[in-house]
Amino acid sequence: MEHVLEVKHLNYFYPDGDGKRIIFEDCNISFSCGRFYAILGDSGSGKTTFLSVIAGLDKRYEGEVIYEGKEIKEIGLDKYRRSGVSMVFQSYNLIPHLNAIENCLIAMDISSNVSFLDKKKVVELLAKYGIDEKKAKRKVNSLSGGEQQRVAIVRTILTESKVIIADEPTGNLDQTASQSIMDAFLQLAHEEKKCVIMVTHNQKLAEMADVQLMIDQKKMISKEERK
């Protein structure tokens, strides 16, 4: 299977007094479309740092992060974030003073996805994920956590990026809402053929993923592969 995202010889450290705290040392890992990856790890193990690097938010790394055969710094980190990768956060990270539709339209505008700059289609997609038009026109911070997270997922779909990165997306949600979000990710991976990479503390949720990864001894290792 062709890799959409590859991490090669990743080295990353934080300055720590006079010395440095190494987070990753010669870390290598690859991600493919159509797969749902779950990354597990203890607090402070480097999960967030890893996501920051592959999301193009943190450029202070050594080694290579290759998206569709090209180093993301060469692509341009802004451009990479615009069109290659999209993110779902634990705290949803929606623009609070806007409604769900406007949040989606902004994301589409930034990603230059003109084919989708159609309010009607946004409303339809939101409805597909359980956000009816009435709710879609309310300020997002008046929606429930699960609904906000679904708006965030719809936003990632609309940007048409191949890689979806999620950081504890169910961290603030109850079990039912969490399940619906996990279903959405699985659908994105298996039906929309997206590469979904999720960080979680929840072993049960991680087991729903196609691939479970762990950070161990400054490297990313595959725990098991189901399929």
């Binding site: 990479y80 003073h97 339209l105 902004i106 589409m108």
Partner: protein, 458 residues
Amino acid sequence: MKSYYLRNVLNQIIKKKVETMIIFSILLIMSLFLSLIHFFGYDDSMEANIANTLSLRYEIGNTHVVGPEGSEITLYDYHHDYFERIITWIEEVEKEEEIDYADYNIQMDLYSGYDKEMGFLTGYRLFGVSNENYLLDNHIELVEGRFLSQEEIDSGVPYIIVSNETSLKIGDHISLGEADDENGGIHKDITVEVIGIYKHKKQSIYYEKNDSFVNSQGVLLSNKILHDLLLTKVQNETIDSYHYSLNHICFYLKDYQDYVGFQDKLDSLIRKFNREIEALEYIPSNLTITETNTGSIIQSVMRIKNVYQVIFSIVFIITALILISSIYYLLKKKSAEMSVYYSLGQSKLKITLHYALAYMLIGVVAVLIGIAIGYFISNQLSIMMLKDNVELQSELLKFTSTTLDSSNINDNIQTLSFNGVKALYAAIETLAVVFISVLGSMMLILNDRILSRNGGWN
């Protein structure tokens, strides 16, 4: 809408009402004080206008020439010498680089006029001019006909301009002469032709209701005619100061901002002149040229304005600091929001422009309103300042028998303060503070670590 960027900027303003009102209020105050600084400060057109309104840069006089009591010197010698010396001195001062032009008035009182239709007229006051601009610029306006050209003034063509309160018309010829009370008639001296009819500008400090050298019976003509007339007469007759005087010696500066600097120079020139006069034994030493107090109106106004300017500057700086702090605080609170844009792939530049544009739009509205209010306040303060000074100075001017009529000064000041360029400066500076504040704040806020942290990665 194809691009959502601008719409989102507007959303920022409309949907964040509290924030918008905070920025708007601060900017309104700031632009108000900045506009006041400009109106009262760097561009000095207001002082120029005040100066022009008062028709005064320097005035020396009122030098009524009084013959020395018990002097052995003949009045002819005295008058002749004194007039000649003063006029020569004026011409010398006029050559100074700061001076645009000088003017003085040889004045002959108690003259009578005669014309065929009206018969015997009395009470004319002949008022000499040396410059074609002086009176028209400052004291009178033509109702009909024309004023004397500089060439006519210099060569002494017998043309006169008379008040519209007389019955004289353009083209009338009248004979002017000194009243001859003993013989019940007039001694004809000169025949002149009326070429213009004037009326007073009421805001002129020379406008006097009762007694004026440019009063309702004032006759304006070339100084040269009066000078020649004087020289002719004094050779044969006794004259006294009630009939002849040299008044209102004025120096007009090319740039009124030289006022303070040139004052020292003029003082020195006056002292020099006085020393020369005193050295002449037959001239009484108490005859001196002194500067009148009228010129200090401008200085006084400028002093008050400087105080205002300092106050406004301090308030502006404080407001600007509050604005900068507020913008930084508000933007820092938005770092989470910025991280959303950043994670969606928006460049730092575009994010910066997004907030800069939003604040600038608020700024434009606030600045326009602030400047309008500043314009209104500056006008009111100008009027207040000038009224105070006019009242003060009118007291000081009493010795010259001159009364300030300030009623119309206000009208002039109403139109003088607003200036498009000054308003533009104020607007640009206020908006520049906004832009720089946003830019500086964003430079501090938009770093990868903060964006990553607020993006929810930790």
